[in-house]
């Protein structure tokens, strides 16, 4: 069966800015299908190039992360004609975004838990950057917490590598953190201290963090103090 026909029977979960996301069963396993449909506002050549590049990069980065022991969905199948990626469905998970939002509402005893989570995120991102994977779209919606059957700590799973690429440059890693910082602080008000915790843990976990943090400071300055004429 061709992929487009297969998708007609799948359940459409949402249409994001980048792709349509379906839930389906793939060889008996619960799967998520990410379909990058053509964007008609773009020049067809540009659209084809971007779509193909992003599909390839997404799969490549996921594999690289998984090889380094960072949790990311298993890639089951890729179809480069219809630009579809078949991924493992992360069962029993919630986004870090929802987790922080609900923790902020309940008052007692969550402070320490959130700090632990921030530290955990910092560690994982440090490990990802040490593998030279730049996520490109870090937000708290693109991080999942998988609650395992045992009582242990939930696992942090990174998803949505659509804008990711491979780079060893501190500049690229710094911008990656800058994107997260902006998304983090605009989505979760009054979490400056929490994000500071995340960065501290990142700095402590990565071998190459000092150059990255220095770049982050530079990029922040570019954003805030850029002269704006016109």
């Amino acid at each position: 069966m061709a992929v487009p026909e297969f998708l007609q029977t799948a359940e459409l979960l949402k249409q994001g800015a980048e792709a349509r996301v379906y839930r389906a069963e793939f060889l008996g396993k619960p799967a998520i299908v990410k379909e990058r449909f053509p964007k008609r506002y773009r020049h067809p050549t540009l659209d084809e190039k971007l779509t193909h590049r992003r599909t390839t990069q997404e799969v490549r980065s996921i594999l690289r992360c998984r090889r380094a022991g960072i949790c990311a969905p298993v890639v089951y199948f890729v179809d480069y004609t219809s630009h579809c990626i078949f991924l493992e469905e992360i069962i029993g998970s919630s986004t870090v975004r929802d987790h922080i939002a609900s923790a902020q509402q309940s008052d007692s005893g969550t402070e320490q838990k959130l700090q632990q989570l921030a530290e955990r995120v910092g560690q994982i991102l440090a490990r990802m950057h040490d593998e030279d994977v730049i996520h490109g779209d870090l937000t708290t919606s693109n991080m999942l917490l998988r609650h395992s059957q045992k009582d242990g700590e939930p696992e942090l799973v990174l998803i949505d590598f659509g804008l990711s690429y491979i780079s060893a440059l501190p500049e690229d890693k710094g911008v990656d953190l800058y994107v997260l910082e902006k998304a983090f602080l605009s989505t979760h008000p009054n979490t400056e201290a929490l994000f500071e915790k995340l960065l501290k843990s990142y700095a402590a976990s990565s071998k190459k963090s000092s150059a990255v943090i220095k770049k982050l400071d530079e990029v922040r300055l570019r954003g805030r103090k850029r002269s704006m004429v016109g």
């Binding site: 249409q15 994001g16 800015a17 980048e18 964007k39 008609r40 506002y41 773009r42 020049h43 050549t45 540009l46 190039k49 971007l50 490109g136 779209d137 870090l138 937000t139 804008l163 911008v175 990656d176 800058y178 994107v179 902006k182 998304a183 605009s186 990029v219 570019r222 954003g223 805030r224 103090k225 850029r226 002269s227 704006m228 004429v229 016109g230």
Partner: protein
């Protein structure tokens, strides 16, 4: 009835507009145009503004059929912008406010664009794409601020277009962007250029360096025409802008887009944004060059909103600033 006069001169345009309760009574403007291959320098631009500002002021009052006594408030651009032109215009605004005995109001230039766009298009609560020679921002309103969700991490899109125009010596009359747009219509070959989107942010400096380096080589070897380059540049940078706007809309759950700023009157950008909106079932709002490009009425309109919500700027606080972010302003006139 409230009548506000607005003075704008943060870049190479000098404009004075008069607004009476949402009605544009007059909006004359002059542009300082430099020869091909050259940008506008602050001191020369200020000299140009000084030379014409009183003529433009007279025109604004005559076209509106008003006397100074009919004006309720004098608004001027406080920033952001180029220092020397800003000082020139603020000085005149300050002087007439004292001569006429009217209150003064310093306005954020970016807020002027947004409020003018809302007035003209009647867009209620849009995601705003603000694109000009000095700014590239995706903005949405929440809790008394226009919040910046995405922006350029280096140069503005208009700056990228202007500087490309200088490289291949495109005329600055009426504006480099307009001439690129006309030439792009005749281009057909798509030349691949760097494409840089980072989350909801964009970067244009890489594209500019690439095309600065490659343009003359490609043109002299006959690989492509100047029209092809204009076409490819527009297709690339506008795709990036539409993409981050769509990302911000998905993030905020918004179904309206408003394009403002000088680059916003480019019809190809409007067309691409329209296609994106159609696919999402969203609505596009845009204006033409009279209100997209810097003008006095936009400062008057933002000033009108601020004045009505009880704000005034005391004489000793009527300074200007080159750096003034959109999200620094508390929006006292919206819920």
């Amino acid at each position: 009835m409230t009548v506000v006069i607005g003075f704008e001169g943060s870049a190479n345009k000098i404009g004075i507009g008069i607004i009476r309760d949402g009605e544009v009574l007059s909006n004359p403007r002059r542009t300082y145009i430099t020869p091909p291959g050259q940008g506008f320098m602050p001191s020369d631009t200020a000299r140009h503004h000084r030379a014409v500002i009183l003529t433009v002021l007279k025109e604004a009052l005559e076209q509106a059929g008003l006397k100074p006594a009919d004006i309720d408030c004098v608004a001027y651009t406080k920033g952001p912008g180029m220092g020397a032109p800003l000082v020139t215009v603020a000085l005149v605004a300050r002087t007439v406010a004292q001569l006429w005995g009217k209150p003064l109001l310093g306005v954020n230039h970016c807020i002027g664009h947004i409020e003018m766009g809302r007035l003209i298009t009647k867009a209620n609560n849009p995601t705003v794409l603000y694109v000009s020679g000095g700014n590239t921002q995706v903005i949405a309103y929440s809790e008394r601020r226009y919040r910046i969700f995405g922006e350029t991490i280096d140069i503005a899109v208009g700056n990228c277009l202007d500087r490309f125009a200088r490289v291949i010596k495109i005329s600055n009359d009426p504006s480099p962007g307009y001439n690129i747009e006309q030439m792009a219509k005749k281009g057909s070959q798509y030349v691949e250029l760097p494409y840089t989107v980072k989350g909801m942010d964009v970067s244009f400096s890489g594209i500019l360096s690439y095309i600065e380096e490659a343009a003359n080589k490609m043109l002299s070897s006959g690989q492509c025409t100047a029209e092809d380059l204009c076409f490819s540049l527009q297709e690339t940078v506008f795709s990036m802008l539409v993409e981050i706007t769509e990302r911000a809309m998905a993030h905020c759950g918004s179904q309206e887009v408003l394009i403002v700023g000088g680059v916003g009157c480019n019809l190809r950008l409007q067309e691409m944004m329209g296609v994106m909106c159609q696919e999402r079932g969203a609505k596009l709002f845009a204006t033409d060059e009279r209100f997209c490009i810097d003008n006095g009425a936009m400062i008057a309109q933002a000033g009108w909103e601020m004045f009505r919500s009880g704000q005034v700027t005391e004489l000793e606080d009527s300074w200007i600033t080159q750096r003034y972010r959109t999200d620094e302003v508390e929006v006292t006139w919206r819920d």
